[in-house]
Structure formats: structure tokens, C-alpha cells
Subunit: 647 residues, 2 copies
């Protein structure tokens, strides 16, 4: 009888199998339909091939397309498939790196003097599909450094040789599928047949190892899926996202621009963007006022000494702008508002009666991101943050944290955000004193409270161990736009470290000094990222209360201009944001202009309307609503607007 | 018959006098009462002694206490009188500099090891009054460098010797009154008898020549007046100003603080200051929205290239923070918002139909002021500016400028600013092409229009030649607080230079590109300076709409807490800013707390109020208003608040 090993599954259950069994075979033993889905497996702490023979007791998690690690392996294997196709089509080309990325994969190749076109990509796709249909297994080959070098020297692949030279003997492996062999750590999916749908998406230049001093290679991007329908859905989403691209719409709708003389990552908000900001701030200020926050204003700079106290220097220095030296003192642009708020907390002696103290500010912070990392409003260097810091006692903490979560839910409802998840990062007790502050009781207390609040609030969340901040647990908030794209909105952090560093205290009931807990929160994130999200989410068709221009008034002909002005005046009296489209252009063209500007309502006025005191109403996305009494439709709009801001 | 000279007076009239006559004698010839008031005279372009003999034709302006030059000479002569008194009291002391300052004068003296006390100041004042009563003439003595050196070497006054060594022979003069001789360029008043009232205000240390490497001298500050009543008024005003000092009240009322770790001149606005800012911004945004402004938001930094285009670099560099260098590019903190706004103007093609375009922003700008120049909120390094730039055609200019002035008047009314004056600075046509842009037509047109608007608007103004900006005429707005202190609020500038530098254009009716005129305006100045002014103006007792806390609710005893909470809730429902003063302290003490906090209204609730549904109302500064139905007084407050913000 063969030797047995014991396999422990994620739910804690255990089963015995003969030694040498692979995760794939274990899956088949559990359920044949599961086996078809398994791509790779987490064996103890490492993600490995699903066809790895198991010789000892292990913990095992079978990973499919639904796991990030499954997707990564799928795309990594697809990169190898791309390379195989390229070698078949263009023999003698050289290969650089070919990793999976967030969405798909790429391979950097040296094509010599050849330049690829869109048409070439289709040929390559076809070849990949053909090779995939052969359903060749991915085979792992562990190999010595000298053998590995010999292989690629003979093949004439200098990039692989260079890579191998940097590796340690005994840690080198090849993977082979069909006739193609690549240097690779793995893991890979079982065979090429899993790859049912392939799209090569882009061609770009990329320096070998990202260094501009090296040769420029050709980077071919692609994405692949286990089902054709997944690819179709992906392409459809891409098209929707393209139509809703916040950079494109941001420009077309006059929301923001970038300017070369101002600098990269520094958006200038145009008047329509200014309205969006004002409205969001009104909402936030109203919401926070009702929730008992007070508002402060702090400068955008501070002395070096403050950031040494906070510990941001030198730890966070690379993400901050460089200092300005004045009268022998270094000043930094603030990259966060907390130290300034701590100073305001510390400005007066505080008693337990003053807590919770909730200090809010729309603070603008500046962070350094490399030029290459900047992306529209999503990655910027200047951020207007819906920031606040709540200083509270341990007793108050759970209630305050619950209230913060409720504020999120309230905002999600207002903005029609139906899919969201909170990523709750906890600490690793083994790493206290190094990666985490050594305050075991506070860690346990706050993590327990956060967990309980999330459960009681019925908020969907995932708990991620060992990803807390140095000074406390945190919750990252992920939201999905209406077309299903994911955005990281904001982070709530529990902080019992900074209050200690800044020596913040309050006097408790027994007249003893105590350190408050701080909650960092920013439910609307930054204007930059949130408005970027909203542009996509609404496809630029903002709801009435947010819309930069709420009503366009269009006189049919010049003789209706006087009545149009009267309507305009009525609208302005109710503080509706209006625009008169009464130029020389034909009415049809002006209607089209208002449509493109995505103005929620058009009031068209001609002879009949002027005679009756009515307007002909067109609603964006709905079309003609017919004739309505001017007063009545205005009342209706005022009511509609009030649903969010209450005025 | 003696030789005659021709004297031209400011009104253009001319008169002949015998050569050798002094301005004082001319004044006597015009009117004996005028002669008594003349302190110095502007002879051609120079301010000189009123006892200077005139030998040639001149233009002459007689200067009195009402002229800044008259005050300066009066205080300069008072400094000499102080020195005379000091020498009489403490023979052998050495003298540094003794100039007039904005309010009074000082003298830096080397007293050896002696230290002065308050009591000493009274003795010195008495001696000064005694010497003033002698009514000694101030006598000018032109002297050679060698003679001058000899005099002070013999006297043993090393500071004077050092000063003389830096002067050119032929340009040196002494002034003598009584037994005291000083090195001095003058001019001085005719005699010590003019000085009727003297107050020595302060003693401080001051390094010789302001250099910390030099010896520290004793600086004695003083002020003097031609009438005792002027001094009494001055001291009364000082006391009022002391009570209303914005630095003192700003701290007591929780409005702002400075923090060593943030930096000098960088105020942090506490929650009560946050309310003031929010309310002022609400007012400004409402006012500007009604006046057709649009709002933008721009970053606080920009590349060096933008400030080279604007011309702020290198010209204005000393007033800017030093640059931050990032990826090889220098970024500057913005010291003004205009270049950012110009970029927004330039972001789209503009037609005459789009103008006037009024771009507003509460932009925070950063300017470098030396540490020693910083003063509370009045001189800071960080300024939240009520900024806007109006881009218009020449035809629109007068109307736009008029509207800006009207906005000022509207604000003056809201804030009870009854005394104000606009200082209208024009260019000097002779200096076009050097000090001023060489655009004669635009200068004439805009200056004429500004002048006409000021006259038509019946706004008090003074016209100051040759003080315009490089790129256009400007209007500085001076206001007086209710206790009569003067503040510079803001500057309106006409600008036809920057639009050219930034290449701003619009297409006119004939489809030709034209350059717009820009009006820079900031009627509420900066939050820093305006709130500093308002604190003094209102002595911290802000009107209801501005008050950080509008109503304090005070339950007489614990058993009234429930009713107090109900009242509080009613107030909050109407969005009134409230505070419950319901601690263990006695009611009298809590009333005092609310008084000190200058909360406009107190609602005191006891048995009777709880039974009747009333509150006992106390108004700050007025006292007990008696019992009122809660609903009724709340309605009244809501009405009162609405007078300014309309909600």
C-alpha cells in the first residue's frame, strides 16, 4: 500500500490521499466539474502549478478564475502562448519579459527591424488560438544554471541569458508548452486548452528593464479568457468605459483641464467642474454639520519639524514634494491634513466632555507621483480631500466608527452606488513591536469593535490579515461604477499612534490624562478621484442637483427671445443654474448642443409657449415631455433638487 | 528794489515774492492762521524746512499736520527733542538713529550699562515738555565732512562718526535746537514749541543697523502731537484697539492660532474661525453668483515657466516662497491666482459673445514676508483671497468696473463700514515705455473710465499720479473700523499687460482676434486681513449671521436639561448654531461664560419656561429681553439671519 499524505482544506477539513497526487487530481476526486475550473493551487503558503505532485502533508487551496491568483496564472500562461505564436510566425526573434498584469498580460520582444501593425495582431491572435486548440500541457522543468545558460546561448536569446545570470543556481526553472520553452518561475495553468478567447489590445515601445539607456523592445499587450462570453463582456465594458472616459468627458463637458505651464497631475477645474465641487462640498458640509463635525482651515505647508514629529519624515518623504527652505527652515507642502488637525486638537486643554471632537476640512494635499504614474483625475499630485479626524475615547470609538460607516452608506444611496465592499485590514500579532505598534489591548479592542460594527451594519466586507497600518486597523472602501468598474474610494484608519507622537491628551472623569483614539476618514475621497468616478458612473449626465447647468432655455426664433428671458429670470429666482441658447443657429442644432452638453432639462419656447405661459420640456435621455406650465415645471425641479441638499 | 521770484501753488495760481523769502513767510502773507499750521514745505519735488529761503522760481506746497510729510517731520523733530532731553538727563550717552515711523518716532541710544524703566520714561517726557516750552528753533547747518567728523569725534559719538563716514562730502548737514546738535538731512519743523503733547510708549532692544552682530542699543519709542486733545484721542484709541486687538480676541474666542511647528505667518483657523470663513464665503459666493461670476479651483503650485510668462519671475521673486525642484522642474507656490485664471481663460477659444467672463476663486496664495514683518492676521504668509478676474472688451470695461465698485458698497453696507476711500493710482505719461506699458490710448481710456465711474458712483476717492501698476491703473481701497483705525482692504487693478503676455484673445464681431482687458478684484480682501479687521470692528461681538455660536441654551438646574434639549433641537432644526451650557457650574457663572464668548443670544430655561414653552432671552450687549415663546424668538432670529444671506 502506497504512502498517504494528509491534506487540510481552507474550511479546516482534512482528507488523506496517496503521496504524489496533484491538486488537480484531488479536485477531480472531489468533483469533476471543479477539476475543470482549477487553474493553480496554494500549497501551504505558495501558489504553485495545479499539476505539482504532493509528497507531504499540506494545506491546500484550489484556485480558479475567480481568484486573483488564478487569473494571474491564466494570463501568465497566455503570455507564454503569445510568445509561442510569435516564435512560430517570426522565427529568430528575441524575448524579454512576459508577465501578467492587472488586466491581461504583455510580452516584450525584440523583433529586430520589424514593426508590427494592427493587421499583424490579428494574425498573431489567430496563431495563438490555433496553438491553444492543440491543448498542450504546460510542463515544468527544473534546471541547473549552466544548463539553462547553455540552452538560451544556443538559442541566441541575450535577454534570457542576462536574466539567468542574475539568478541563483538551484532556483531556476523552464516551462514548456508545445514546441516553446521559456525561462519561468511559474506557476502555470495545466494546458493551453483552457484559453478559449484571446484579444491582443495594444502595441507599445518599452525599454529593456525599463531603463531608457537600454534597447527599446516591442511590448505586445493582450487579454484572454476561459470563455468567449467573458471576452465579449470585457470588450463591451471597454467600449462603455471608453465612451464614459472621464478624461474625454472631462474636457468635452468643460470640467477640468491640465496645463503644461501649471504641471502634470495638477488639474485646473473649469467653471463646470467648479459647480460639481461646490455641490459636493455643500453636501459634505451639510452631512457633517448634522453629524456634529466642526470645520477648520489649515495652511498647505508646515515646517519639517511637524513631519518629523508625525513620523512622515523620513518614512513618507518619497511621496512628498521636496522642501522649500526659508530663513534656514525647511517647509513641506502637506501630503496629509492630520498633523495640522492634531495641532488644532492640541491648541486647547481637552476634557472627556469635549469628546468626541470631529474636525473636518476640505484640505488640499500634495503628493509626489512619478509623471509616468499620473492618470487623468485618478492619479494626480494635488488632491482636495473630504477629510476629517475624530478624536474620541475608547468608549466612544465603536459608536463613532458606526456613524462613519453610516455616512458612507448614505452617500452610496445618494450616488446610486449599489456595489461596494470594505476591505478590513488587521494586524499580525506576531509582528507587534516591528511592523505594528506594540499595544496588544488596543489592537484587539479596536479590531474587535471595527469587525463588530461592520457585521452589525450588514456592510459587505473582507478581512485581510497583516495589512493594517503601523498605528491601527484600517478599512479600504471599494466601489463599483454603474458599468461595473472598480474604484478605490477612500480609507478609514484607526490611529492610536499619532496621538501618542503628538502628545495629545484629554482629562478623564477622574481628572487623569488619557490619550484619545483618532479615526481618519474621508467618505467622499478626493474631489479628483470622486468626480472622475462620477463622470464615468453618470456618463457625464449628472443628476439635477449636481449638474453644472440644470436647464437650457431655447427660444425657437428671435421673436421668442423676450419670453425666453422671462423664463430664464424665473429659473434664476429659484437659484436654478441656467443657460440661454439663443444664438443665430437653428433650433435643431441648439437642441443637439444641449444634448451633447448633457444638460438635464431643455425648455423650448415658441409662439404657443409664449402665449400660454408654458415651456416645452425635453429631459436629457428621455426626450420630449410635452408642454408644461412654467411655474409647475420649475416647482418640480426645485423639489427634485431638494431631494439631496434639502434646499 | 529787491529781486522777485515767482511761486506756483498747487492750484496752478502764481504769485511774486522777494527773493530770500521762506515758505513760512509766504504762508504768513497768505494767512496768519495758516502760517501757524505749516510744518514743512514741498519745494519743487523735495520736502524741505519751511524756513528755507527761496532764491528762484519754484512750485510750492505748504504741508501741515494733515499731510503725511507734515506728520513725519513733526515726529522726526520730536525724535531730536527726545535726544536733547536724554542728553540733558544722561550726559555722555551715545546716539544711533532717530527716525519718524508710521505712528510716532523712536531713537536708538547707547546708554552704557544703564537700563531704563517706566518711571524713567515719565522723567524723560517731563524734560521733553520743558525743552519744548523753550520753543527753540530748529536750525539747519550745512557742514563739510571733515568738520562733521571732527564734531562727533570730539563729542565721542562713534555711531554718528560711522554714519558720516558713509556720506558724501557736500551732502552733510546738522540740525541744532537749543543746546543739542544732531547729524541730520532734515527737514524739520520750525521750532520745538509746536510740540504740545508727548507720550513715550515703549522701550525695546535694537541692534545697531539692525545687524545681530552689532551692539544692542536701547530703542525708545514715542509719539507726539500739536494738541493735547490729539494725544488724548490717540491714547483712547490705543486702549480701544488694545481691547479689540484681533490677536488677543482671536485666541480668546477660538478663532485662530499660530503654531511653532506649522510656521510663522501661517494661521490655523479653529472651529469658530472656520464658521466665520464659511459664512464669508457663502456671502461672497452668493453675491458673485448673482453678479454672473463663475467659480473655478486651481492648484497652489505651478511650474517656473508660468511665472516667467507672467513676468512675476524674476521681478517678484523676493516675495515668493523658494521653489521646489521635481524631476528637474522648478515649482513655485502661487503668490497670486491670476496666471492660473489666465490659463483657464486660454483653455477654450473665446468670442465676444462669451465676454465678460468673470472667473472667481477663493484661492490661497503664499507670499514671503520676513519674520519680523509678520503681524497677527494683518501680515501673514498664507492668504485666502476673495479673488476674481474679469475678462472684458473695452466697451464692457466701464460697466464691469462700476459693478465691482457697487459690490464694494454693498459689502460696506453689510459690514457697517461707514468710512472708506479709494486711492486711484494713475500713470505718468512721461514714463511710458519704462515704468509703464507704452499703450497711450489704453492708459487714457481706462484711467478716464475709472475716474468717471468713481465720480458717478459718488465714491470718495483721491487720485495719486505716478503710482499705477506697470500694466494699468489701480484702485486701493482703504476702510476704517468703527473705532477709526485705517485698514487697507484690497486693490482693484486694471490690466492690459498680462493678457498680452499670456496671448489671451477673443474673436470680435468682425471675426478678428482682440486682446481682452482684465480687472483684478478682491472686495473682501483676504480672510486673514478681513477677519482681523472684523474682530476689531465688532470687538468680537459678531452679528448673528456671522457669529460662530448664535445661541447658548442654559438650563437653570439639572431638572431643566430635558426641556433645554428640546429647545436646542428646535434651534438646530432651523440650522441655528447652538451650544448647550449645561454643566455643573452655577447659572451665574455660565451666563458669564456666554458673555465672554460674546454669543449673541442666551436662552435661559427654568421651571416657568419649561411649563410655558418659553425661553428667557438675553441678548449680548443689551441684557435681559424677558420671556418669549420659543417659536417666536426662533422665527425672529431666522428672519434676522436672513437679512444678509437670505436663508
Amino acid at each position: 500500500m502506497s504512502q498517504q499524505i494528509r491534506v487540510t482544506f481552507p474550511d479546516g477539513s482534512q482528507r488523506s490521499f496517496p503521496a504524489g497526487i496533484t491538486p488537480l487530481e484531488i479536485a477531480a476526486a472531489i468533483s469533476p466539474s471543479l477539476a475543470k475550473k482549477v487553474l493553480v493551487a496554494r500549497i501551504d503558503d505558495t501558489v504553485r502549478d495545479a499539476f505539482t505532485p504532493l509528497h507531504h502533508d499540506v494545506t491546500l487551496r484550489l484556485l480558479t478564475w475567480d481568484d486573483p491568483e488564478g487569473k494571474a496564472a491564466f494570463w501568465h500562461s497566455s503570455a507564454h502562448l503569445l510568445a509561442e505564436a510569435l516564435e512560430a510566425l517570426y522565427p529568430g526573434i528575441k524575448f524579454g519579459y512576459g508577465p501578467p498584469i492587472e488586466q491581461g498580460f504583455y510580452y516584450d520582444v525584440d523583433l529586430g527591424s520589424r514593426r508590427l501593425t494592427e493587421a499583424d495582431l490579428e494574425v498573431i491572435e489567430k496563431k495563438m488560438a490555433e496553438l491553444a486548440a492543440q491543448n498542450n500541457n504546460y510542463v515544468r522543468i527544473d534546471i541547473s544554471k549552466s544548463e539553462a545558460l547553455k540552452y538560451f546561448e544556443q538559442k541566441g536569446d541575450p535577454y534570457k541569458v542576462e536574466t539567468i545570470l542574475e539568478l541563483n543556481d538551484g532556483e531556476i526553472s523552464f516551462y514548456r508548452q508545445g514546441n516553446f520553452v521559456d525561462l519561468c518561475r511559474g506557476p502555470h495553468i495545466p494546458s493551453t486548452g483552457y484559453i478559449k478567447a484571446i484579444k491582443l489590445t495594444n502595441i507599445a515601445g518599452a525599454y529593456w528593464k525599463g531603463d531608457a539607456k537600454n534597447k527599446q523592445l516591442t511590448r505586445i499587450y493582450g487579454i484572454s479568457f476561459p470563455k468567449q462570453k467573458d471576452l465579449d463582456d470585457f470588450l463591451h465594458m471597454q467600449e462603455l468605459a471608453r465612451q464614459r472616459d472621464h478624461r474625454k468627458l472631462g474636457k468635452e463637458l468643460g470640467i477640468f483641464i491640465f496645463d503644461d505651464d501649471v504641471g502634470p497631475g495638477l488639474p485646473l477645474w473649469l467653471p463646470n467642474g467648479g459647480v460639481l465641487i461646490e455641490q459636493l462640498e455643500k453636501l459634505a458640509k451639510k452631512t457633517e454639520e448634522e453629524a456634529g463635525y466642526v470645520r477648520v482651515r489649515t495652511p498647505h505647508i508646515a515646517k519639517e519639524s511637524m513631519y518629523l514629529t508625525s513620523g512622515h519624515l523620513p518614512y513618507y518623504q518619497d511621496s512628498m514634494f521636496p522642501p522649500m527652505e526659508l530663513e534656514g527652515i525647511r517647509y513641506y507642502l502637506k501630503a496629509m491634513n492630520c498633523p495640522h488637525h492634531h495641532k488644532i486638537y492640541a491648541a486647547e486643554p481637552r476634557s472627556y466632555r469635549d469628546l468626541p471632537l470631529r474636525i473636518a476640512e476640505y484640505g488640499t494635499v500634495y503628493r509626489y507621483e512619478q509623471s509616468g504614474e499620473l492618470f487623468g483625475l485618478m492619479r494626480v499630485r494635488c488632491m482636495n480631500m473630504n477629510d476629517a479626524h475624530i478624536y474620541c475615547t475608547e468608549d466612544q470609538f465603536a459608536e463613532e466608527f458606526r456613524a462613519v460607516n453610516e455616512m458612507y452608506l448614505r452617500y452610496f444611496k445618494i450616488f446610486g452606488i449599489e456595489k461596494y465592499v470594505m476591505r478590513f485590514s488587521t494586524h499580525d500579532p506576531a509582528k507587534r513591536g516591528q511592523k505594528y505598534l506594540d499595544l496588544p489591548e488596543l489592537w484587539q479592542k479596536t479590531e474587535d469593535m471595527v469587525r463588530r460594527v461592520l457585521i452589525e451594519s450588514k456592510i459587505p466586507f473582507v478581512e485581510v490579515p497583516d495589512e493594517a497600518a503601523f498605528y491601527g486597523p484600517k478599512v479600504d472602501v471599494q466601489i463599483w461604477s454603474v458599468i461595473g468598474r472598480e474604484f478605490t474610494l477612500a480609507t478609514n484608519q484607526v490611529d492610536f499612534g499619532q496621538p501618542l507622537r503628538f502628545g495629545l491628551t484629554y482629562i478623564d472623569r477622574n481628572n487623569q490624562p488619557q490619550t484619545p483614539i483618532v479615526i481618519h476618514r474621508a467618505p467622499l475621497g478626493t474631489h479628483e478621484r470622486f468626480i472622475g468616478f462620477l463622470i464615468e458612473h453618470y456618463a457625464g449626465s449628472f443628476p439635477l442637483w449636481l449638474a453644472p447647468v440644470q436647464v437650457a432655455v431655447l427660444p425657437v426664433a428671435d421673436r421668442h427671445l423676450e419670453y425666453a428671458q422671462k423664463v430664464l429670470h424665473q429659473l434664476k429666482q429659484k437659484r436654478l443654474r441656467v443657460q440661454l441658447l439663443g444664438s443665430d443657429e437653428k433650433i435643431g442644432k441648439r437642441i443637439r448642443t444641449a444634448e451633447i452638453a448633457k444638460i438635464p432639462y431643455m425648455f423650448i419656447v415658441g409662439d404657443r409657449e409664449a402665449a400660454d405661459g408654458t415651456v416645452s420640456v425635453r429631459q436629457h435621455g428621455k426626450g420630449d415631455l410635452g408642454s408644461m406650465a412654467t411655474d409647475a415645471i420649475i416647482d418640480q425641479l426645485v423639489k427634485q433638487r431638494a431631494e439631496v441638499l434639502g434646499d
